[in-house]
Amino acid sequence: MLELKNIGVNFSGRDILKEVSITFHPGEIIGLVAPNGTGKSTLMNVIMNYLRPNSGKVLFNNELEYTSKKNEVKIHQLVSMMPDQSDLYNHLSGKQHLKIYSSMWNSNPELIERTIEDLGMASYVNKKTGTYSLGMRQRLCFAMQIVSDTQIMLMDEVMNGLDPTQVEIISQILVKKKAEGKTIIIASHLLENLEKYANRIFFVKNGKLDLIEDIYKDLGINGNLVIRVKEGTPELKEKLSQDFPELNIQLLSNSVTLIDFPKDDDGKLERISAFLSDHHEQEFSVGKMTLVDLYSKYYH
């Protein structure tokens, strides 16, 4: 179990993380979402003790803290961070990288073959990594972390450069690891993909971690459905506001117009859809607010 208590990180006057207190449990996948440079990587660096927080502490399994080098080693037995693909040894093969990681963390060597098979790497794992494409390197880094088999795994942009099939494979492995009781913290921009397997998703803003459920609540979208117009314009919004002044209409930064679906449905839906088709807006949908929309709304 990983607990962050009041973590604060400050760079030249700016608060990157402010009083972040949170607990991560075994068998959980946590998603971290934020625009670049708002603190996702900083948080991970603090958990790994690559960066010391200005305040607060990190607590593992209710007993271990980063108070001494000895503890740091013990903690690193439990937590690992996915290596960057640019740091691979170009003259070594993928298999050799896996063996290194497996032996460093003393994990089960059978895990190596299983991981190679799961990720479909068998055809190239014995070649030098210098010959790999970006996607192959990324998958290898993921495989290395899986093979280290640590209790807690931190992954920064693991899906970088991967095609949809590979994204799917990796997601399945993540779910499998979750079932094994691991804690996985993923920083990602693939929001729809995250939604599928993450237990909790946090948006990072102004140094704080906000659970998306809480965000939904704060924005009053709780359980509400929305009408989603794909290519909205400010003029459309104007016209809609004139015709339907009681509705909450938002034009998001990605040109999506969201119309809060009225609570008491009294035929408004038909009138709105009629209005929209009159104005040649054929593409709209009805459903729950997506994470992507929430992101645009939250970070406009």
Binding site: S68, K69, K70, V73, K74, H76, D84, L88, S103
Partner: protein, 397 residues
Amino acid sequence: MRAYFKFELIHFMTNKKNIAIYVILLFFACFYAIKIAPSFDPIEKVDKDEIEARFLTREDFLNNVVLDENTYPLTRFAAAIYPEWNEYDKQRLDALEQNDMKKYAESTFKWYEYSDSMIFRNGKGLLYYNPRYYTAGNLYATEDGHYAYMYSASRYKGYSEGNSDLSINVFEERTALQTLQRMLHGYLPLILLVSCILFTSDIVLKDKRNPTLIKGFPLSIWRRLLVKGGVALIGSILTIIPLLVGFIIIAIQSGVGDFQLPVPIFSYETRAFTSISMGSYLFQNALLILFWFLLLISMLLLVSIILRNEFANLVVGCIVVFAEFYYYVRGLGFVKDIQWYPSSYVQVGQILSGYREYLNNSTTLTLEYGLLVMSGYTVICLLITFIICNQRWFKLL
């Protein structure tokens, strides 16, 4: 930790630089063995013609000299000292005739002892050592000659009293073991130390290129440095292998020699030579060189984590090894306490054989002091490294 050790060792052995160092050492070992060693021209040779010429000249003189009140004092002096001198030369010639190496050793030992006492103590300015010591520009030829004659006397004494197989190769110090002894007296220790520096210079800093891969390893910084140091030490010791090839080539050409052969050791306190066996001499050399490796490696580990620059490692390493050339002047040891500087012990063979004591007029440049100073500085470096590593704020990468 074993996994990390294997990791570092494989990286060390596949590092192109390290492979290049071994290849270059092999090349130089073979070059030396094939080209330079056979053309070694010792000053003290087994030269029948030279002995005979000197013997005959003096015998001629002794037979024809007339000693009366008018005789010039120097002639009287010559007549007084030549007879014994010639006695020894005659014994040497006879021994060579009969091919009796042991007898030659014994008479030659006496000859050197007598010659040295005559030239150094009694015949100052009139008698000279072998002319080859008096090379143009050598300001210390007499001291060199004196040392060499005492050295040879001790050597031959050891031969006459010992049980080794004697031959001209042994007398002229051409056998493989004796060549090794000569090289240890010369540049070989420097080559080994420079190789050690080259091996160790990047062993910590190479990780800068693959940080995220290595940062997370569950191993403390101190343990990592220890493993790296250990790998560097093993690598430095393995330089024996390419050098062994050269050794074997020389052995094929001139014989191996014997571990029981005497190696003269000079002590400044008694101003005299004693003898130890070749085996123990080589062992002492290996010991001192090993301690040098330990010192260099621990020092470079410390410099690596403080200055974090490979160029700095090379510069610092070279300063420690070559500093002695800057402050060395004959007789300095009498005046300054240079026994406390580790760089005074660079010329390993010379330290052990007492030559360095002779050059520096010091009683303290010995193996014991050397080991003491080396281990002292090593412990200090390791201690500082340990303290720095365990600081909470310290990051290796």
